[in-house]
């Protein structure tokens, strides 16, 4: 059986997925704390004939996608409740549906109850893993130190923003709104030991690199065209074969 068309199709499908992932990265070029997603390809070898060792057909499989966790650029905003993280640490949140999640979105607001939440309503957790509260009378005049300690203008300590270690990526799924949700077995929070620090009055912007993403678009398009050419020339070959065989008979 002639497999070349199917090999090309496996490549085309994988490229379409990669285009979707790239388009999502570009769409989130301005989402603060967003981490770009990358696609991993691998070949899937099918041996056509056992007697021909090492020969066979290689199909493309998009095995998975992974998160590019390089830090984004830290942009100064001057807002006292904008927090950027440096280093490998992550914030933890309690999402509106009660699940726990990790993220690096530090654009925080205070709700009417004095709870510190993100714009989409997820509450940030303190070092002990409980939702953080700031007494309403100190709102908007708090100072947050490098290690996340929140203090009032008079110097009283009101809590500490938790900086945690991100568990294995395989226990996390992306929950949207910049969140990484751990599965049922990985609920424990481990404080970050790598010396991450909080910068008050700044926001970590998305780590999407415009040039990389646009060049990736070009690569995807060219690879797609090559795979299509393969389909077309395979078609041509078969057509040619059919006409010649037809002529000889």
């Amino acid at each position: 059986m002639d497999n070349s068309t199917y090999v090309a199709i496996s490549k085309l499908t994988a490229l379409e997925r990669q285009l979707d992932v790239t388009a999502n990265n570009i769409a989130n070029a301005n989402s603060s704390g967003f981490k770009a997603e990358r696609v991993l390809f691998e070949s899937y070898l099918q041996k056509d004939d056992a007697s021909l060792a090492g020969e066979g057909t290689n199909y493309v499989l998009d095995r998975g996608s992974y998160v590019d966790d390089t830090p984004g650029v830290v942009v100064q905003t001057g807002n006292p409740l904008d927090l950027a993280l440096t280093g490998q640490g992550w914030f933890a949140y309690e999402m509106p549906d009660g699940r726990m999640a990790y993220g690096r979105d530090g654009q925080l607001v205070l709700d009417a109850q004095g709870q510190v939440t993100t714009a989409s309503g997820a509450q940030i957790l303190d070092l002990g893993g409980a939702p953080l509260n700031i007494p309403p009378e100190f709102a908007a005049s708090v100072t947050i130190s490098d290690d996340g300690v929140i203090s009032s203008p008079e110097g009283g300590v009101m809590g500490q923003i938790g900086i945690f270690e991100l568990p294995d990526r395989q226990t996390l799924s992306r929950g949207g709104a910049g969140m990484f949700v751990p599965n049922a077995e990985a609920q424990g929070l481990a404080p970050d030991e790598t010396g991450s620090s909080v910068i008050q009055g700044a926001v970590e912007s998305s780590n999407v690199q415009p040039v990389t993403e646009v060049t990736r678009l070009i690569n995807i398009q060219q690879a797609y065209q090559h795979a299509l050419n393969l389909v077309a020339s395979d078609d041509e070959l078969k057509k040619e074969m059919l006409t010649r065989i037809g002529r000889n008979s």
């Binding site: 085309l12 490229l15 379409e16 997925r17 285009l19 979707d20 790239t22 388009a23 999502n24 570009i26 769409a27 989130n28 070029a29 301005n30 989402s31 603060s32 967003f34 696609v39 095995r63 998975g64 996608s65 992974y66 001057g78 807002n79 979105d105 654009q107 607001v109 205070l110 709700d111 009417a112 109850q113 004095g114 714009a119 989409s120 309403p136 009378e137 709102a139 908007a140 395989q170 226990t171 799924s173 992306r174 929950g175 949207g176 709104a177 910049g178 599965n183 415009p210 993403e213 646009v214 678009l217 070009i218 995807i220 398009q221 797609y224 065209q225 299509l228 389909v231 077309a232 078609d235």
Partner: protein
Amino acid sequence: MKALGIAATGMMAQQTNVDVISNNIANANTTGFKSARASFTDLIYENQSREGAVTAEEGTTRPIGLDIGLGVRSVGTLRLNTQGGLTQTESQLDLAIDGRGYFTVNLPDGDQAYTRDGSFRLSAEGQIVNHQGFEIDPGVVLPDNTTAVEISETGIVSAYVEGDPIPVEVGQLTLTTFVNDAGMRPLGNNLLEATVASGDAIPALPGDAGVGILRQGYLEASNVDIIRQITDLIQAQRAYEMNSKAIETADQMMSAANQIK
């Protein structure tokens, strides 16, 4: 191929971004205006193969999944409640709040609104009103033959009446604070209203702990940082172009696929 839809969400988000930025720039000279910033987050992910799924009987698991994000959405506009600069004016009824707090204004429909714009005037009846003629709350009425008004940092209004060198105390201005200033809803005309998100109005006197003081003869300028807005505008435009590039690529790929036969 979802790229078309994904890139479209990106373009819409950048349009919102440009709308917010241009409103900030338009209000660069509006008294007491607070600049806003659009905030974006990624949409949900389509999980095509799950991370941590068992790959063999030995209990090995898939280290990564295949997650395809479906674009971006705007979650809100954050109002930046930093202090604006104070500009000196010659008017006795111009007040700037140095610190936290809002003036309260009685709307004609009986509701109350809050403002940082302290450019007050007098009504025909001698009441202190804002530029739309809405009375401040609690109201202060100046005597008929007032020659000068003095408003202290703590909000005590004294009037000098013609022929009398000793001022008469005619009222006390108050301020209102909120737990979550960013949750107030803008009404236009420099007015904001309380919402469930902002919490209830907390009455306070100027100069109380955590509350600002009043500066007579000054107005609070907007806190719009023009340089910041222009650089944000450039970024938004380029991000918009990048998204349109993604649409173009998806379109050309589909067109190429259509042409193979």
